[in-house]
């Protein structure tokens, strides 16, 4: 909506994607992702779910082209991901990592401003921010309610504040796709809700395509339009939360029986553990 790019219905298309860490010639059994094919629709929120080690975060990193798949093909908004430069990918896709560890005394506003970097090209990336960069960063920081923390060091603020600042940095990239790796993992209940609502709002107001990895089935059920369930690097199920989050599928993937009823407010599936 805010880009001159033509509108695509499909943000990502994955065809027979396989990936394994380590040497190229390893056995296929060690593959983290195995023959994965799916479409990710633009303008929607997709939740990637699955047990530990099912390849959720790896899939997200493939989408951000942090890694490249050994086999198969990923298309981003109609272009082959491997044909784009790192800089071109960074202008379209922003990644919010699970945890941001900063060992050097950068301030929050300095870290947020780093999101403007893909929009500047110079020798080795050297550039100065201009007034438009400042305005964009200021807006993102206000939207994520971290503008008052601009002077504080990244190491000084709380986990929730840091996570909001990292999302602000992602917005400053002005991406079409926002990728989040367990955005609520280290946060308490209040901040979990906060981040979930922010993600939903960004999707609605900015038309951002959101792909998030989560362990929290209920969060995914409430806030995602679609969910993708991974099991041992293979696609187990994909579709609306109502379709995917049913006791049979969850038991087959997670190996434990669960109770699924309806959320009292939204009527969406609610997953509870048995006594």
């Amino acid at each position: 909506m805010m880009n001159d790019q033509p509108h695509f219905n499909v943000a990502y298309s994955l065809e027979n994607v396989s990936f394994s860490y380590g040497r190229r010639n390893r056995a296929v059994s060690e593959a983290v992702l195995n023959d994965l094919s799916c479409l990710i629709l633009s303008g929607r929120v997709l939740g990637i779910l699955g047990p530990n080690g099912s390849g959720k975060s790896t899939l997200l990193k493939l989408l951000a082209r942090v890694f490249e798949p050994q086999q198969g093909k990923i298309e981003l908004l109609g272009d082959s991901l491997s044909s784009l430069s790192q800089l071109e990918v960074a202008k379209r896709v922003a990644l919010v990592p699970q945890e941001t560890v900063q060992v050097f005394p950068f301030t929050i506003s300095e870290m947020v401003m780093m999101g403007r970097s893909p929009h500047h090209q110079g020798w080795g990336g050297w550039h100065w921010e201009d007034s438009q960069d400042w305005a964009i960063a200021q807006n993102a920081m206000e939207e994520l309610d971290v503008a008052h923390l601009g002077d504080r060091l990244v190491t000084e603020v709380s986990g929730g504040e840091r996570q909001r600042a990292v999302i602000a940095r992602a917005l400053v990239q002005e991406p079409q796709v926002l990728l989040l790796d367990e955005p609520t993992a280290f946060l308490d209940l209040h901040h979990q809700l906060d981040i979930a609502r922010i993600i939903k709002r960004l999707n609605r107001d900015r038309g951002l395509t959101v792909v998030l990895v989560s362990h929290d089935l209920n969060l995914a059920s409430q806030y995602c339009d679609h969910v993708l369930l991974l099991n041992h690097g293979r696609l187990a199920a994909m579709g609306s939360p109502q379709k995917v989050l049913n006791p049979e599928i969850i038991e087959a993937v997670y190996g434990c029986s669960v109770l699924v009823d309806q959320h009292p407010q939204s009527g969406l599936p609610r997953v509870s553990l048995p006594v």
């Binding site: 202008k91 560890v101 950068f106 970097s117 990336g125 100065w128 921010e129 007034s131 002077d151 917005l171």
Partner: protein, 380 residues
């Protein structure tokens, strides 16, 4: 630079649409630490002025004190060539221009380069303790230089001395070994590299000790002074060569300043922000090897400058590498000029290796920082 909101940015129009009051840009983004072009120039020019003051201050000190009015007159005379003061055979002028000046310049170049290599390696390895000495580049360079010194390879081939070339080869050799070790697993682990550096240090030190133990005694004495770090007796002609090596290395580090900023967020995040991580890492490592090789071949192993100066500058000035790199260069240069002045004047007329001073000053400061500023150092 005053940012304004009437820039037609998508984010701005978005804020209006969502009914948010479009408040003027507040201090958040123009805080005292945030880097702007004008702030960069202010810091750099102040740094240069202080450097000149330190240079003139150090020039006057020595076995024979020279008054500052005379120093300025001699320098002006040498630069502008007014020749109103004296003929060129004047002993004071010779001491100043042929002995103290080149030595001071060497100290400045060595200190500045070590500090900047420290900054670059710390960012690359995301480890505030990384340093050309700690991760084994210095000892690699030292081993290369020691082989050249002890086996007489240290003769010049044409105008190029073999010593810096051997030192660079040694530094590069140690980096390649570590690169291979770290690449054995997927990606490039910071901790693997650091541990590999520690072990490489031990191996190279053992080789150097072995070489000194089998070498002729008259060569060993010079070796010892050199291994402790010394800045004695450079010639203007050899300094020109050093400036050439350092110029190339520092240029490569400088243009990657913004990439180094992004790399402090982690390699995966840096890649997602558009950095060609592998290419940047290789360039910065090569430049670091070149700088370390050149510096070690001229001055031996001078520790702590690459460790202590980056910390100090980060705490006081900025963590932004666009400012941090040049400021660390200036401060590191000043630090070593002062340290060398102490080394050659404290026990005048005899002198001791400058590496002793840097370790005795740098060590305690580092320990003090370590215990009082843990959050800023990222140790917590």
């Amino acid at each position: 630079m005053k940012p304004t909101l009437d820039v037609p940015s998508p984010a701005a129009s978005q804020a209006e649409r969502s009914g948010k009051p479009s408040v003027p840009i507040q201090r958040a983004l123009t805080s005292s630490r945030t880097l702007t072009r004008s702030r960069w120039w202010l810091w750099i020019s102040s740094g240069c002025v202080v450097t000149v003051v330190v240079v003139v201050g150090c020039l006057g000190l020595g076995t024979q004190a020279i008054p500052y009015s005379r120093i300025i007159a001699i320098i002006l005379d040498a630069v502008v060539g007014t020749s109103m003061e004296q003929d060129l055979g004047d002993p004071t002028s010779i001491i100043l221009l042929q002995v103290r000046m080149p030595r001071l310049l060497l100290a400045f170049l060595v200190g500045g380069s070590l500090a900047m290599v420290g900054v670059a390696l710390q960012a690359l390895l995301r480890n505030p303790l990384a340093d050309p000495f700690v991760i084994g580049i210095s000892s690699g360079a030292a081993l290369g230089a020691a082989i050249a010194l002890l086996f007489g390879v240290g003769i010049s081939v044409g105008s190029i001395s073999a010593l810096p070339v051997c030192a660079f080869a040694g530094a590069l050799f140690s980096l390649i070994i570590m690169y291979r070790i770290s690449s054995a697993q997927f990606g490039f682990s910071v901790y693997t590299l650091l541990l590999a550096g520690v072990v490489l240090n031990a191996i190279f030190s053992a080789f150097i000790m072995f070489l000194t133990s089998i070498a002729e005694p008259n060569r060993v004495y010079g070796m010892y002074a050199w291994l402790m770090g010394t800045l004695t007796g450079p010639e203007w002609s050899t300094l020109g060569m050093l400036v050439l090596y350092l110029g190339v290395g520092l240029f490569v580090l400088g243009i990657h300043a913004q990439s180094l900023n992004l790399l402090t967020l982690g390699e995966e995040t840096a890649r997602s922000l558009g950095v060609e991580v592998e290419r940047v890492k290789k360039s910065v490592f090569l430049a670091s090897a070149l700088l370390t090789g050149a510096v070690v071949s001229f001055s031996g192993i001078i520790g702590f400058v690459g460790l202590i100066i980056p910390h100090a500058v980060r705490l006081v000035v900025s963590a932004d590498h666009r400012l941090l790199l040049p400021m660390a260069g200036l401060v590191g240069g000043m630090f070593l000029m002062l340290a060398d002045t102490v080394a050659r004047t404290a026990l005048s007329p005899s002198e001791f290796p400058v590496g002793v001073i840097t370790a005795l000053v740098g060590g305690p400061i580092f320990l003090w920082l370590l215990t009082t500023r843990q959050t800023q150092l990222g140790m917590k």
